[in-house]
């Protein structure tokens, strides 16, 4: 069980502040480090991997400082973002070489276990240069797992992966999290974070914008109105009925234009400050007035909206 602690960490390059006073604790389980491009995610990961000293504040793993401390790599497995590897070697040789670099007692067994964990046994004898993006990513995972580290750092692991490759990597990360490892991955592709991250740290332009489960984050931002799209067989009547209740701050009848996929039609945009009471009220009011509800969709609940809301703030 290992914990990564960032205490009031800042990092600047000249007068560009990449990371600004971030305090963060990353414990066991899968944590998603989330933020737009240029928010400072890779700077943070570089500091957690000990490749970059913080300009101020400390970055420690179970109390040990990470900067210029080679021994810490016994407990950290790093999956770098860049694709460059020793292309002239086969997958097996590459993982084995990493095992030997760790000076493990039995490098062959460790490499064997790592390659099997990432299900790359069938391609291990081929040169790394011939691997697809998804296979390269899995071999990189194997090199990071070979010394069975309690901490796993992955820099933008999902970049450029198609859904099938992404699903495979998600299962792998979930499995690592369940084994009690401290898994941290950076991403700006929100679908993945939603599905596997037990914990989310949101970073926006260098600042630590939010942390905790993303639904928690959702609750934390109660002062922001919640947006709902409702489609029923009598939108106007439903709008009038719903407005009567205090939890709703605004209703708008909109025509949904057929852009690309969705057909045209009408819908109700509802803004409610008190989410819980609105969702309970809606079915009761509809029942009372005999209005059939076809669709009730939270328009802003996905992490994407949480994220763009934080960016906009």
């Amino acid at each position: 069980m290992s914990t990564l602690v960032l205490d009031a960490v800042s990092r600047w390059f000249g007068n560009v502040v990449a990371v600004n006073d971030v305090t963060m604790t990353i414990g066991p389980g899968v944590t998603g480090l989330l933020g737009p491009n240029g928010a400072g995610k890779s700077t943070l990961i570089h500091m957690m991997a000990g490749f970059l000293p913080p300009s101020s504040g400390t970055v420690t793993l179970d109390g040990d400082v990470l900067w210029r401390n080679e021994q810490v790599y016994r407990r950290i497995g790093l999956v770098p973002e860049r694709e460059a590897m020793y292309d002239a070697m086969t997958g097996w040789q590459f993982v084995l070489a990493n095992a030997r670099l760790h000076r493990l007692t039995d490098p062959e067994a460790a490499a064997r276990r790592a390659v099997d964990t990432v299900q790359m046994a069938q391609a291990e004898s081929r040169d790394v240069g011939t691997y697809s993006k998804g296979m390269k990513q899995r071999i990189k995972m194997a090199t990071a797992l070979v010394h069975d580290p309690p901490v796993l750092l992955l820099d933008e692991p999902f970049n450029g992966m198609d859904p099938r490759q992404r699903l495979q990597l998600m299962d792998l990360l979930r499995e690592m999290g369940q084994q009690g490892r401290t898994v941290l991955f950076s991403s700006h592709i929100l679908e993945e974070v939603e599905q596997i991250a037990t914990d989310v740290q949101v970073v926006v332009s260098g600042r630590h914008a939010a942390s905790g489960d993303f639904r928690q984050i959702r609750q934390l931002m109660t002062e922001r109105p919640h947006q709902y799209t409702v489609r029923s067989d009598d939108d106007r009547a439903l709008a009038a009925a719903v407005m009567a209740d205090g939890s709703v701050t605004g209703v708008e009848l909109v025509a949904t234009t057929a852009v690309g996929s969705r057909q045209g039609g009408r819908a109700l945009h509802v803004e409610a400050t008190d989410r819980a009471s609105f969702v309970r009220l809606l079915p009761q009011v509809a029942q009372r007035h005999g209005i059939r509800l076809f669709e009730v969709t939270p328009a802003d609940e996905s992490l994407e909206s949480v994220f763009s809301y934080l960016v906009a703030r």
Partner: protein, 290 residues
């Protein structure tokens, strides 16, 4: 290696999406359309020009945005796009004028004078798009333009692609494997996997609503399912959601009444759209890693 095999499709003007997994043959198809890769069999024509014989004529009227990195780091965006416009046959003055115009349209402001080595992924994608538009093509081929972009960047790029197809009056063939975005942008979609055509149809019917409802309540969802089944609705839990097989419109009311009856919050009631994701995963299946 069979990259693309016996693919027959014709692409109408407007914004057309080409969907497929990594390695499904998207980039190969684009290169063939540019007349850069000879098709081993069959034929294709772009804007009326035969791909096999009239390559240069096609490349004069077509803009291409590759998926991979293709920008030299030691030159500024302005200098680079002007050069690219000239390589498409525009005289220097016109090239300079159009470059300024196009860079403004893709949203590159004062960074356009800095060397591209320091550009963010988003800015690089914009320059790649600008060089494809600089010579005012009739058709642009965009290979995964949103690759590596964050949500804000993705929305901007998709908005841009949409504007190119409509406001600029340039036909667009855009590829992607992030399926949600093609739904929002394209008028029609060609889905290929392993080099073969899976489906080619207007986006609307690809994501047609199916007869499955997804419902979420904020409490006591077990009792909620029981209430539904006792009301004769075929419902079963799926994680924190409840899936309801829609027998008829009456089921909508039964869902509403079950929630109202129990006094629980109806957080979500959605038709389970046949998301392109399933469409894309289902047929390919198997462990074959593209």
């Amino acid at each position: 290696m069979l990259a693309v095999c016996d693919l027959t499709v014709d692409v109408a003007p407007g914004v057309v999406g080409l969907v497929g997994a990594n390695g499904a043959g998207k980039s190969t198809l684009l290169k063939m359309l540019l007349g850069l890769l000879p098709a081993t069999s069959g034929s294709a024509s772009v804007l009326g020009h035969d791909v096999a014989t009239e390559g240069p004529a096609i490349r004069q009227r077509v803009g291409y945005m590759p998926e991979h990195d293709c920008l030299p780091p030691d030159v500024s965006a302005t200098e680079f796009v002007v050069h690219m416009a000239q390589l498409s046959g525009l005289p220097r003055a016109a090239a300079r004028e159009r470059t300024a115009d196009v860079l403004r349209h893709v949203g590159l402001d004062e960074e356009r004078y800095r060397p591209m080595g320091g550009y963010s992924t988003g800015m690089r994608q914009r320059v790649k798009l600008a060089q494809a538009l600089a010579h005012d093509p009739q058709l642009v081929l965009l290979d995964e333009p949103t690759n590596g972009l964050d949500p804000a960047g993705r929305d901007d790029m998709l908005g841009l692609v949409r504007r190119i197809g409509t406001e600029f009056g340039i036909s667009v063939l855009v590829t992607s494997h992030l399926l949600g975005e093609l739904e929002r942008v394209c008028d029609a979609v060609v889905v290929i996997d392993g080099g073969q055509l899976l489906r080619s149809s207007a986006t609307a019917d690809v994501t047609a609503a199916s007869a499955l409802l997804v419902v979420e309540v904020d409490a006591r969802s077990g009792e909620f399912v029981d209430a539904l089944t006792s009301a004769g609705v075929r419902a079963h839990p799926a994680g924190r959601l409840v899936e309801v097989e829609l027998a008829g419109d009456g089921d909508y009311d039964r869902v509403r009444d079950a929630a109202a009856g129990l006094g629980v919050g109806l957080v979500r009631l959605e038709q389970r759209r046949h998301r392109m994701a399933e469409l894309f995963l289902a047929p390919a299946g198997g462990g074959r890693d593209a």
